[in-house]
C-alpha cells in the first residue's frame, strides 16, 4: 500500500505555466480521479507523476521516496494509455511480460505474474494473439494486464476508455472498479468524462487552467461545489446558472431579481452575506426544477426540446430573453411537447448561490 504526495508542483513550457503550484496527497489504496476540460493540464500532471514530463518546480513523492528527478522506469509506477500502446509485433503474453523480461526478472516469476494478471482480467484465451487480432476492449484489458504484471506501487490511467464505444466504455468502467476492489492498489485516473469520475473515484480532483479547483468525494463535490466551475462541470445535464441582482436583504432571506427573465422576484430563505445591489448567480440543478402548467408561481418558459430517456425525461426550455436553455429533469414520462408554454418552479431550498466572482456562498 503506497501513497503519492505532490508538493508545490509546477510545470512550465517556456513562459507558459501549465501546472500552477499543485499540492495533494493520494492515500494508499485510494482511487483518485483527475477531471477537467481539455487542456486543463490533468494529463500533464499525470505524466509528471509518471516521469514522462519534467517537473519545473516542487516535489513528487511515491511511497515516501522523492522521485521528482528520477527517470520513469525507477518510479515503480505503471501507466495505461488512451491508445493502449501495445507492441504490435508481440503477442499478448509477450506484451505483458516485456517490461519484466527487459529488466531481467526470473522466468518463473514472469510466468506466474502473467498468469495471475490474465486470470484477474479474464484474458487467458487471448495470450497467444497479436494486438491486431483483438477488439478495442480486449486491447485495453491487455494494456491493464501489462500494468498489473509489474506489481507497481501506483497505477496511472490516462483516459483509458476514451477510444471505446459507449457500451464497451460502460463495461470497462465496471471492470476497472472491480480490478481496483480486487487488487486494492493506489490508482490515479485521468478523464474528461465526469460520469467516469463520479462512478470510479474515491476522491475527485477537479483541475482547470493547471490549478486544482476542488478535491473531494464525488457526492461532496456534487452537493457542495466551492465555485461555479466545479458546479457546472459535475452533473449531467449541467447545472443551470441564472444571473441576477439582490434587491432586498432581510435577516434570514434575500430577494433576487433575475436578468432577462420577465418573472416575479425570487425570495430565497438563506442568510447570505450580501448587501443590496450585489450581483449573484443562482445555480439550479435540473432535478431541482419542476415543470408545472403556465400561470403558476415560477419562471414562465417555452419548451424547446424534450428528451425521453425512459425512466426520466429532460426538458429544455427558453426563459425570457435568455440565450441559453434551462434544463429540467423529470421522473418518468412527461406530456409536455415542443412549443408548450410552461412554468419552471425552482426548489429554492436546493439552490446554489455564487457571488460575482463565481465563489459559492450557499
Amino acid at each position: 500500500m503506497t501513497g503519492v504526495s505532490l508538493r508545490g508542483v509546477e510545470k512550465k513550457f517556456g513562459s507558459v505555466e501549465v501546472i500552477k503550484n499543485v499540492s495533494l496527497n493520494v492515500e494508499p489504496g485510494e482511487f483518485l480521479v483527475f477531471v477537467g476540460p481539455s487542456g486543463s493540464g490533468k494529463s500533464t500532471l499525470l505524466r509528471m507523476i509518471a516521469g514522462l514530463a519534467e517537473t519545473s518546480a516542487g516535489t513528487i513523492h511515491i511511497a515516501g521516496r522523492d522521485v521528482t528527478r528520477m527517470p520513469p522506469g525507477w518510479r515503480e509506477v505503471a501507466m495505461v494509455f488512451q491508445s493502449y500502446a501495445l507492441y504490435p509485433h508481440m503477442t499478448v503474453e509477450q506484451n505483458m511480460s516485456f517490461g519484466l523480461r527487459m529488466t531481467g526478472a526470473p522466468k518463473q516469476k514472469i510466468e506466474q505474474r502473467v498468469a495471475e494478471a490474465a486470470r484477474i482480467l479474464r484474458i487467458e484465451p487471448l495470450l497467444t494473439r497479436k494486438p491486431k487480432q483483438l477488439s478495442g476492449g480486449q486491447r485495453q484489458r491487455v494494456a491493464i494486464g501489462r500494468a498489473i504484471v509489474r506489481d507497481p506501487k501506483v497505477f496511472l490511467f490516462d483516459e483509458p476508455l476514451s477510444n471505446l464505444d459507449a457500451a464497451l466504455r460502460l463495461e470497462m468502467r465496471v471492470e476497472i472498479a472491480r480490478i481496483h476492489a480486487e487488487i486494492g492498489a493506489t490508482m490515479i485516473y485521468v478523464t474528461h468524462d465526469q460520469v467516469e469520475a463520479m462512478t470510479l473515484a474515491d476522491r475527485i480532483v477537479v483541475i482547470n487552467h493547471g490549478e486544482i479547483e476542488q478535491i473531494g468525494a464525488p457526492l461532496e463535490l456534487y452537493e457542495k461545489p466551492i465555485n461555479k466551475f466545479v458546479a457546472g462541470f459535475l452533473g449531467q445535464p449541467k447545472m443551470n446558472f441564472l444571473t441576477g441582482v439582490l434587491i432586498e436583504r432581510g435577516a434570514n432571506a434575500v430577494t433576487v431579481r433575475l436578468d432577462d427573465c420577465e418573472c416575479n422576484d425570487l425570495v430565497l430563505n438563506l442568510p447570505l452575506p450580501l448587501s443590496a445591489d450585489d450581483r449573484i448567480t443562482l445555480g439550479v440543478r435540473p432535478d431541482a426544477l419542476a415543470v408545472v402548467p403556465p400561470g403558476a408561481e415560477g419562471l414562465p418558459a417555452t419548451v424547446k426540446v424534450v428528451e425521453h430517456l425512459g425512466s426520466e425525461s429532460i426538458v429544455y426550455a427558453s426563459v425570457g430573453r435568455r440565450a441559453e436553455f434551462i434544463a429540467a429533469r423529470l421522473q418518468g414520462k412527461t406530456g409536455v411537447r415542443h412549443a408548450d408554454p410552461v412554468t419552471l418552479r425552482i426548489d429554492t431550498s436546493r439552490c446554489h448561490v455564487f457571488d460575482g466572482s463565481g465563489l459559492s456562498l450557499w
Binding site: A50, G51, L52, P71, P72, G73, W74, R75, V77, A78, M79, F81, Q82, S83, Y84, A85, L86, Y87, P88, H89, F98, G99, M102, T103, K130, P131, K132, Q133, L134, G136, R139, R146, R150, N163
Partner: protein, 285 residues
C-alpha cells in the same frame, strides 16, 4: 465482393482508352529495349552479333558467353569486392541513419530541426562536387585503392536518405509505445532494438533494397578510388572486360545479367516486407 466489382468504372471513350493503351505499350517497349538488347546479346555468338542487329532474336540459345564469364577467375574477385562494399556500406548507412532518424523523430533537442535539414541537404550534393577533395583526402590517408574508400564514401552518401526515410517513418510510430516501455523501465537502446526497429521492418526493407542496389550498381566511385584489378567492383569489371580480339558484346551482356542477379534477389527477398501495416493494432484501429 470481388476486386473487379469494386474497381471504378473506366472513364473516357473506348477510342481514347485505346489510344492511351497503345501509347503506354510503345513507351514500355522503348524503355525495355536496351534491357532486351542486353539479354539477347548475352545468348548470341560474337558472329551473330556482328552480322545481325542488337535486337534481333538469337537464332539459337548460346550459353558460351556465360561459360566464358564464369571461367574468368577475376569475375569472382569483382563479385566478392562488390558484395563486401555493398553489404557493409548498406548496413553502416542504415544503422547510422536509423539512429539519427530515431533521435530526430523521438528525442528532439534545441536545434534538431535545423540539424535534420543539414543532414537531408546531403541529398542535393552531386557526388562530382566532392570528387577531387575526397580523392586527395583519401590519398593522404592511404585509402586509395582499398575497399575502405568505397565503404566510407557509400556510407556517408547513404546517411541522408536513410535518415530522412527513417525519421519520417518513426514520426508515425506512436510516442505512447516508447513512453510505455520507458515507464516499464526499459532503456532507450532496448526500446530502439526491441520495440522500434521490429515495427520499422517495412522502412528498413525499402532502405536495404535502395542502398544495396545503388551501391552495387555504382560505377563512379570505384572508377575514381580503385586502380588495381583485384580491388575492382563488378560494374567496373564489366567495362574493363574485353574479348580476345574485339569488344565482347556477348560476354559483357552475360556478365551484366549475372551482375544484376543479386539486386534482383535482394528486391525479391525484401518486397514481402514492403507491405506495411505492422503498426496496425498498436493503437486505436
Amino acid at each position: 465482393m470481388t476486386d473487379a466489382s469494386q474497381r471504378a468504372a473506366p472513364s473516357g471513350s473506348p477510342l481514347r482508352r485505346a489510344a492511351i493503351f497503345v501509347a503506354l505499350v510503345v513507351l514500355a517497349g522503348l524503355f525495355l529495349a536496351p534491357t532486351v538488347g542486353v539479354i539477347f546479346s548475352a545468348f548470341k555468338t560474337t558472329r551473330d552479333i556482328s552480322l545481325g542487329e542488337l535486337w534481333s532474336i538469337p537464332s539459337r540459345l548460346f550459353l558460351g558467353n556465360f561459360a566464358v564469364v564464369l571461367e574468368k577467375p577475376e569475375i569472382y574477385v569483382y563479385l566478392r569486392n562488390t558484395f563486401i562494399v555493398a553489404i557493409s556500406a548498406s548496413l553502416l548507412s542504415i544503422t547510422l541513419g536509423s539512429l539519427a532518424g530515431y533521435v530526430f523523430a523521438k528525442l528532439p533537442f534545441f536545434g534538431s530541426e535545423l540539424l535534420f535539414l543539414l543532414f537531408v541537404s546531403g541529398l542535393f550534393f552531386p557526388p562530382q562536387i566532392v570528387l577531387i577533395p575526397l580523392f586527395k583526402m583519401f590519398n593522404g590517408m592511404g585509402l586509395i585503392d582499398t575497399l575502405w574508400a568505397l565503404i566510407i564514401v557509400h556510407t556517408a552518401m547513404g546517411i541522408p536518405i536513410c535518415t530522412l526515410l527513417m525519421r519520417n517513418f518513426l514520426i508515425s510510430v506512436p510516442d505512447a509505445l516508447r513512453e510505455s516501455a520507458l515507464v516499464e523501465g526499459v532503456s532507450e537502446w532496448r526500446i530502439l532494438l526491441f520495440v522500434v526497429l521490429p515495427i520499422s521492418l517495412p522502412a528498413l526493407a525499402v532502405l536495404a533494397t535502395l542502398q544495396f542496389t545503388w551501391i552495387w550498381n555504382d560505377f563512379l566511385w570505384p572508377l575514381i578510388m580503385v586502380q588495381s584489378d583485384e580491388k575492382r567492383t563488378v560494374m567496373l569489371g564489366l567495362v574493363f572486360l574485353r574479348g580476345q580480339y574485339s569488344v565482347a558484346w556477348g560476354i559483357q551482356g552475360a556478365l551484366a545479367l549475372l551482375a544484376s542477379l543479386p539486386t534482383l534477389l535482394v528486391f525479391l527477398f525484401f518486397q514481402r516486407y514492403f507491405i506495411s501495416g505492422m503498426t496496425m493494432g498498436a493503437v486505436k484501429g
